[in-house]
Symmetry: C2
Subunit: 243 residues, 2 copies
DNA sequence: TGCAAAAACTTCACGCCGTATAGTTTCCTC
DNA sequence: GAGGAAACTATACGGCGTGAAGTTTTTGCA
């Protein structure tokens, strides 16, 4: 058998990449349920069954796509976080949240693919479709919570969360990254995730547009109150952390 | 043609009702994408095409189902709100939110049907699938905001929302019901909706279970901080509204 | 260089789906 | 009891995922 540089393996990798790429193109233009083996094959000048040489089932392909798209979301929010100055936690947190919504609005079909059920009979594998990317995003939000924690801690004195309340895989990333964040801070992170996910999700699925003219304004309001609820003021000024 | 009591019309209404009921049963057991005309017909001992005599397309049927299920959700949360004593706004608000999550957990497929994309090629009609039920739920949340407003108003002094930021249909229900609620209060209601929707949605779609062992505990935390963020304490005691 | 094995790919088939068209049966009304 | 409307069936088309079997292309080795 050829080594890792063999011509056959290179072609195989290229075809695999093309399948993924064509599938994403179909999704972008026709929504996630335009991802069909037959459509991909048609686009590539092949037969649908040829794809079975690269992915065992359609669900395997979809799982791969979810991982790819979810990783792109994680990249986007991580990059926004890294670019924002650590010296201003309020606007850094808001930047992260804006990047999250911005990515979703720019990739609505991707958002649906990750968080919804858009592909007809798709069944995610045990443990979720994209656990690593999910951990990455959650760890990112834990970063927001950690940045806010010196200010926010005072509001969580009576919180009774333990490490055992959370998934080990998540903690394996969060605790090393933010050693000062206690369990209550992780709970805060998950709640913030829920808040932002909900607003963005209502917007992407068209439920907000029926109620408000400007989801954008609503989200700006959310950002202002988010940092305020964390004990940080939003406009550059921020109080000293208590104690 | 027979009047409204004609035998023919009665049979027609019964068959229509049976179609809806069988569709909901299929959804409950096999998820929303088990709703197919052929499966319904099979269950009823008919041909799929016979259903076209009752619903013009499958999407029309799905729209009807969404309306029905969304109305059931609205009934559930309205009932919880009505049952909770108006004298204790904090626990009343928490009761509403618990009813919302409780309904979703009891009817996960219904939640997906209302808020997700579960039926393969479904296209909602112009103006949304179930605008009235959506208004009902939003108006319900506006009720939470209105109950909290005497306490929460102080946090929204710098809010610059106008009536024109919101949909007229929504305001047509909200303003008569809660004449003292200003535009900023409606924005607050939509944000609360987003927060709760997000947490419940992550849970229903299995994204939370990968991160935390007990979504229930997280939601309890959310409830506590929700009323606190509105300026009301959660444990029976509440401060006088300011001013 | 020739040849067998393996990999890549096609063809055909099955059972699902929504839905259009045309034909049949059932029922109500006059 | 006959005409007509309403309810329903039969057949068909193109779409889907996927399994089985067959064909072509490429590879590695004698």
């Amino acid at each position: 058998m050829g080594g890792t540089g063999g011509r056959r393996e290179r072609l195989r990798a290229e075809t695999t990449a093309e399948i993924r790429q064509v599938a994403l193109k179909l999704m972008a233009s026709g929504g996630p349920d335009a991802i069909t083996l037959r459509a991909i094959a048609r686009e590539m000048g092949m037969t649908a069954n040829a794809i079975y040489g690269y992915f065992a089932t359609r669900d395997d392909l979809v799982t791969t796509l979810i991982n790819e798209v979810y990783a792109a979301l994680a990249d986007a929010v991580d990059a926004a976080w890294a670019d924002a100055p650590a010296t201003d936690p309020a606007s850094r947190i808001q930047t992260w949240a804006r990047a999250f919504r911005g990515w979703a609005l720019a990739n609505p079909e991707g958002f649906r693919l990750i968080y919804g059920d858009p592909v007809p009979g798709y069944q995610a594998p045990e443990g979720g479709a994209a656990p690593n990317a999910a951990y990455r995003v959650c760890t990112g939000i834990a970063g927001l919570a950690a940045a806010a924690w010196p200010y926010a801690e005072q509001f969580y004195a009576d919180s009774d969360f333990q490490w055992s309340d959370f998934d080990g895989g998540l903690l394996g990333k969060v605790r090393p990254a933010y050693p000062d964040l206690p369990p209550a801070g992780v709970a805060l992170a998950l709640r913030i995730w829920g808040h932002l996910h909900g607003l963005v999700s209502l917007e992407i699925y068209g439920h907000l547009r029926t109620q408000t003219i400007s989801p954008d304004k609503l989200f700006r309001e959310e950002l202002a109150h988010l940092v305020r609820s964390l004990g940080i003021d939003s406009e550059g000024y921020r109080p000293e952390p208590p104690r």
